[in-house]
Subunit: 228 residues, 2 copies
Amino acid sequence: MNTKLIPPQPTVKRLSIYLRFLNSLNKDVKTISSQELAQRLAFNPAQVRKDLAYFGEFGKRGVGYSVKKLKEQIVKILGLHKTRNVGIVGIGRLGMALACYSGFKKKNFKICALFDVATKPLCPAIGEASEITEISQLPKVVKEKEIDILILTVPVEAIKDIYDMVMSSGVKAVLNFAPFKLLSTENVHVNNVDLSTELEQLSYKLNLNDGEDGDVAEEVYGIPSQLL
Amino acid sequence: MNTKLIPPQPTVKRLSIYLRFLNSLNKDVKTISSQELAQRLAFNPAQVRKDLAYFGEFGKRGVGYSVKKLKEQIVKILGLHKTRNVGIVGIGRLGMALACYSGFKKKNFKICALFDVATKPLCPAIGEASEITEISQLPKVVKEKEIDILILTVPVEAIKDIYDMVMSSGVKAVLNFAPFKLLSTENVHVNNVDLSTELEQLSYKLNLNDGEDGDVAEEVYGIPSQLL
DNA sequence: TGAAGTTTGTGATATTATTCACGAAAACTA
DNA sequence: TAGTTTTCGTGAATAATATCACAAACTTCA
């Protein structure tokens, strides 16, 4: 086995996707092959096997992978068995939507602080963190509540004001939704999600089709209706 | 020049990022070099040049790129000069947040229909599409309003019910936020955005740091405080 | 038991993407 | 004008990622 090698980032990304799919499976599916997994998710079977083999030998030849065991392994690899304390900075519509999203709770992400410049009316659905903390308190609260991850959903104009505060707060990871690419530092790992970029990708594809005909050939498409 | 070649997807993704950065620039910055662009965005200068060279020769040797001209070119490449009609399916918190997000309007994405199972109270900020259409009307409305892109923000349980309707509606592109990977077909290009996956990536990084010490070396970090 | 059928794990190979390195073009300097 | 500096565009080299292909391990069934 090649456990010593550093797994490539794409592999880690796919692990999330595998896990999500495994979780959606009916309870009576006890075992799954790389073939089946790959087919459903439009990956290559060898790729699935290789991804998993980076972390150990989870499969059984002639059989496939035990769904239960595989889920446990991926959870462990991704560190999802540990509870992570999450704070959200900028409680607009998007921040609120994320704060209320139940999917996070299920995966051990615990929203435990909400930061904003002003006190705003809160949705009642938020369990843990039911009030808004003034943003100047951020460094203090990050330390007190041992927040691991900050989600930034502030308007882009506000990014500059809070950047230094966030990066020096002691938080180890940041998920930034503001349309402004924040760079990782030695101490803080930043992931940028840009919703506009996603739409723009689609626009590009549409534009290709508009322009010239028959230009989007040779792409491998999945099995449309096979929704599980 | 190598205009004939098909540009790789990563290139298209970066174009969005270049454009966003160019737009954030002060008006008096007339020209920018691949060096400067790369430094700010943690890319390689040669990569920036190559990305742009796929589409033409936009730069001037010894000078750099005209910011104004470059913006225009990228807008054209991504097809952002054309107005795209967008519908949102599933008007929960996230759907509402996207519907109200002003960044889309600026980029010629026009939210012109909101679909959901039930009529819900609407936020007043939405201009164009100020009421919710019952989801069964989707195929009809997509055709009537010539909707190009559907954004799916339905709960994951609802995906199966609407999948066929969406894919056969005549829409050409889909942006799916439901935590379930939808596959593209010959006629419909799907982009999946999974917010949980993003958090899980961070969890993985945190987990690496937790586990063993000094294991996250050799990564190139950007210039932290250089926010423009 | 043994032969046929599956499916894993992985070395070898192919493909894709990034970075280097340098000639050519433009600008600036004196 | 000639020399120096800057910066592009791009072929070549490198690195990263994905796919192929096959031996080994396991199951099934006669």
